[in-house]
């Protein structure tokens, strides 16, 4: 390839160095959200609604205030009553008023666990005692949890002012349907009428939680002069700053947010729950306030992603060409509008080139926690339905499932179902990687089944800032504004070292607080290695230009005659054969004489993120006695563009698979008749443990993204898209019947086995 000819070989990108924050993280030194304390801090705690839907008639805090050690009690009346306004900055746009009402309920509690008041006290015991003495008078209202009942005309209304957007005719009455999305191409009805083979099915999924092991935590201080300090674990310190400023009605410049190490987020830490409350308590008490959620709080009041009801119909000709598709997606948004159904509609058919389709999505509010982004938000849910239907279609046509997908695959130049034209995608290569794998050709044992599914995610770019500061000895500090959630410090250091031509251990990557580095959008959408990486590389290139200019002056040659190679300036001027190369260290040592400190900062809005495709292959075994399903072998192939640090790319893929397998087999929010969550703990909300899983094989396909200096594409989100259907399709193969509802827990599987036997 010509590309390898004119690009220098890579020395660092593509290798597997030890991460720069590694020693801190294996010794317990790394400080996460709850690990930081401020002098004189109080304990903050939050009182949560015991009802799924209730009017807050009154809140009497007088007895609670009398508890010794209690320093402040706040309710919604301590926050400004905000108007509705769309706010960018999270993983998805949010409504400012809804954000604020989710942080603290005003007139109504909209789900079990919704915050209604908060206290700050000198001790945990005093705070608990105060919570017990706050008297809230509720008028309990009828509630609705599931998406279809919430859409019914006679459903209990969550918001009196919610009118459906996106309908042909303006909605005249309020409802729980916040929005309808619709995307139609060609003539789907006509094409169905002419189709030789059709399949059709209804699929459902339950709400599941991101399940990060670190509960949300923050400590915040509001000083006498109005300056605020926040330390918190989130996916974006700038997001926390914006949201706190807007929710509390204060200036951005008055808030400084320091990002703690983050103990997992997966999208769930792309919004605020505690930070504005801690700040308001600090203002009211005059002390710093620390709030740490319990695991139960995390389940009841944060995350999850949507439960759904979906309908998919596919039409094809006998040779396997898909001629028509209909996809209908109904998603729970939780207490406020904003489920990921829009992204689900866009991704649902993104892997397929289909002439006629209609995709309809419904965003529906329910008396459950407001959903938060969860890794490729919406895409795994839609893929569960579409990829299950594809499996049925392959069976009906008698076609190999990969051959069917290859026949209908999008390619470079295909206009995607969601609009743009694909370029530089590696989908066919990824399909081929699984088709040609030893795994795909291996035989299955008794009671085993094999499933294939594919998945797509856009990946995003966006706004990022990076600074590269050179030390007097030629070492470098790279400052970025993105929390390191899965090893991104390592990839930042590697890209800087590769560009500068220095060993990776000469580069120290750090993550700045909001007062020390320019703005960056949060870590999410698989954007950091792509967009922030681009800023790092450009800042390093700016440093190199500066170094070349300084050297040109020293040598009295033109800039063109100074090249930067392997970490040193070299003279190419034939008239000056005596000029010895100058290393970065040598140039740094005399920087005072050549113009002062060497550093550069770049802020950009990265465009051209390359979309990612994954193809997964799952083998599982069913215990016919218990219905228990065990995944026995798993291979995930993915187009990653270029793996900067391959071990962390593999890790992203393996982690996404594990979450997807949990979603498919076990995880679900379970509610009782009063609308109270019954399983808000890890014992009953069963996530995969080490003994549940086999080794997870990965195949990294590298079709470079020309928009990135090293060809990287986002990798974090694609791997959670296919597993739900890969597992469901494998189970279909093993037991001979399709279970279209998640989770595929033992009782459900047993029932399917029994019904087959009858």
């Amino acid at each position: 390839m010509s590309e390898t000819l004119d690009k220098p070989a890579l020395n660092i990108v593509g290798t597997r160095p030890i991460r720069p924050d590694g020693a801190d993280k294996v010794t317990g030194r790394a400080a996460y959200g709850a690990d930081h304390s401020m002098p004189g801090q109080l304990v903050g705690k939050i009182l949560r609604s015991p009802h799924a839907h209730a009017r807050i008639v009154s809140i009497d805090t007088s007895k609670a205030r009398a508890v010794p050690g209690v320093k402040a009690i706040i309710t919604a009346s301590d926050f400004p009553d905000l108007a509705s306004e769309v706010l960018e900055g999270g993983e998805q746009a949010s409504n400012l008023r809804d954000l604020s009402l989710n942080v603290m309920a005003r007139d109504k509690a909209l789900y079990h666990g919704h915050a209604v008041a908060a206290v700050a006290a000198a001790s945990s015991e005093a705070a608990d005692e105060a919570l017990a003495r706050i008297k809230v008078t509720y008028e309990v209202l009828p509630h609705v949890l599931d998406v279809e009942p919430a859409m019914a005309a006679d459903a209990p209304l969550l918001h009196a002012h919610l009118f459906t957007e996106g309908l042909e005719a303006k909605a005249t009455a309020p409802s729980n349907i916040a929005k309808r999305h619709r995307n139609v191409r060609g003539d789907p009805e006509g094409a169905f009428a002419a189709a030789e083979v059709t399949v059709e099915g209804r699929y459902t999924t339950q709400a599941v939680h991101q399940g990060y092991i670190e509960p949300h935590a923050t400590v915040a201080a509001w000083a006498e002069d109005g300056r605020c300090e926040v330390w918190s674990s989130s996916q974006g310190q700038f997001m926390v700053r914006t949201y706190c400023a807007r929710i509390l009605g204060i200036e951005i410049s008055d808030i400084r947010v320091t990002p703690a190490e983050i103990g997992g987020g997966f999208g769930g830490k792309t919004t605020v729950y505690l930070e504005p409350v801690a700040l308001a308590l600090s203002r009211a008490s005059g002390h710093p306030v620390k709030i740490v959620m319990s695991r139960e709080d995390v389940f009841r009041a944060t995350g999850p992603t949507s439960g759904s009801v979906m309908h998919v119909k596919l039409g094809a000709s006998a040779d396997g060409t898909i001629t028509s598709a209909h996809v209908d997606l109904k998603f729970q948004a939780g207490a406020f509008p904003g489920s990921p159904v829009g992204a689900a509609c866009m991704t649902a058919l993104a892997c397929y080139d289909i002439a006629n389709f209609s995709i309809v999505g419904w965003d529906v509010v329910t008396n459950t926690p407001k959903v938060a982004a969860y890794r490729a938000p919406g895409a795994p849910i839609a893929a569960f339905a579409v990829e299950s239907a594809m499996d049925e279609l392959a069976r009906k046509l008698g076609m190999d499932p990969i051959a069917l997908r290859e026949k209908n695959a999008v390619r470079n130049g295909t206009k995607a179902a969601y609009g743009p034209t694909f370029q530089n995608i590696g989908y066919l290569e990824t399909l081929a990687a699984i088709r040609d794998s030893e795994h795909y050709k291996s035989p299955l044992g008794p009671n085993q089944g094999r499933g294939v599914a594919v998945g797509f995610w856009f990946n995003v770019g966006g706004e990022s800032t990076a600074a590269v500061n050179i030390g007097e000895d030629g070492s470098a500090v790279v400052v970025t504004g993105n929390p390191d959630i899965g090893g991104s410090r390592a990839s930042m250091a590697m890209m800087a070292a590769e560009t500068l031509g220095v060993p990776v251990d000469r580069v120290r990557p750090i993550i700045g607080d909001t007062a020390s580095i320019g703005y960056s959008m949060l870590t999410g959408g698989s954007r950091t290695t792509f967009a922030t990486g681009m800023a790092v590389v450009q800042a390093a290139e700016k440093v190199i230009l500066d170094l070349r200019q300084r050297t040109a002056k020293l040598w009295d040659v033109s800039l063109d005659h100074v090249v930067w190679r392997m970490g040193q300036a070299e003279c190419t001027d034939p008239a000056k054969p005596d000029k010895k190369p100058m290393t970065l260290a040598a140039l740094a040592a005399q920087s005072a004489r050549t113009g002062g400190p060497i550093s550069a900062q770049v802020s950009l809005n990265a465009q051209g993120a390359g979309p990612g495709f994954g193809v997964h292959l799952c083998d599982l075994e069913v215990d016919p006695e218990t219905g228990h399903v065990t995944v026995v072998r798993y291979t995930a192939a993915q187009d990653v563009g270029k793996a900067i640090h391959p071990a962390y790319v593999e890790g992203q893929i393996q982690g996404g698979v594990a979450q997807g397998v949990g979603w498919a087999l076990n995880e679900a929010y379970i509610f009782d008749r009063q609308g109270l969550m019954e399983n808000p703990g890890f014992l009953d909300y069963r996530m995969p443990v080490a003994s549940d899983l086999p080794m997870l094989d990965t195949i990294m396909v590298e079709v470079p993204n020309p928009a990135h200096p090293f060809g990287a594409k986002g990798v974090g989100e694609v791997p959670i898209v296919p597993p739900l259907a890969a597992v469901a399709n494998a189970l279909r193969g093993a037991i001979g019947v399709r279970i279209p509802h998640l989770p595929l827990s033992p009782p459900v599987v047993l029932e399917a086995l029994d019904s087959k036997a009858e």
Partner: protein
């Protein structure tokens, strides 16, 4: 509510603190002794992030009441690296990229060390079952298990050498 004076040994050194009623060992380590390496992921014994050794036995420190450690021996992640040298398990976790966010890592390292102390030559299945009490949401366990098996092999070699 009176507090209880507790004297114990933490990572080989004597430690004293005042325990309020209901205080767990995890709270004492984190809030009284400033050892924040053990994490609280659940507070109910279901995630293993708070794993420590108590008299040589692996426990969830969130389930141990602080006064129970009076006169006993506690070992935490902070005591694993010795003399500025990482323990082979710590080193192998880094080499295998067995951590992403790293929040589960202290607990997993303590639990893995307990495994290798009890069984220097575990099978993959034995390692998976031993570590089943330690949740990791980031890695899918693949690289963790590889790191543990690799460290076990290295420790066996060290022993015979």
């Amino acid at each position: 509510m009176s507090k209880t004076h507790v004297t114990t040994t933490v990572n080989g050194d004597t430690a004293e603190f005042l325990a309020s009623p209901g205080m767990t060992l995890l709270d004492a380590l984190r809030d009284e002794l400033g050892l924040t390496g053990a994490k609280e992921g659940c507070g109910s014994g279901d995630c293993g992030a708070c794993s420590v050794m108590l008299d040589g036995r692996l426990v969830c420190s969130c389930l141990v009441l602080a006064p129970e450690v009076e006169g006993r021996r506690v070992e935490t992640i902070e005591g694993m690296a010795q003399g500025g040298q990482l323990h082979p398990l710590q080193q192998k976790f880094l080499e295998h990229a067995a951590l992403q966010c790293g929040f589960c890592t202290p607990g997993l390292l303590v639990a893995s060390k307990a495994l290798l102390d009890a069984n220097p030559d575990p099978t993959e299945t034995e390692a998976r079952y031993w570590l089943a009490g330690n949740l990791c949401r980031c890695t899918g366990y693949d690289k963790i298990i590889r790191a543990v098996m690799d460290a076990a092999a290295e420790l066996r070699q060290e022993r015979t050498a």
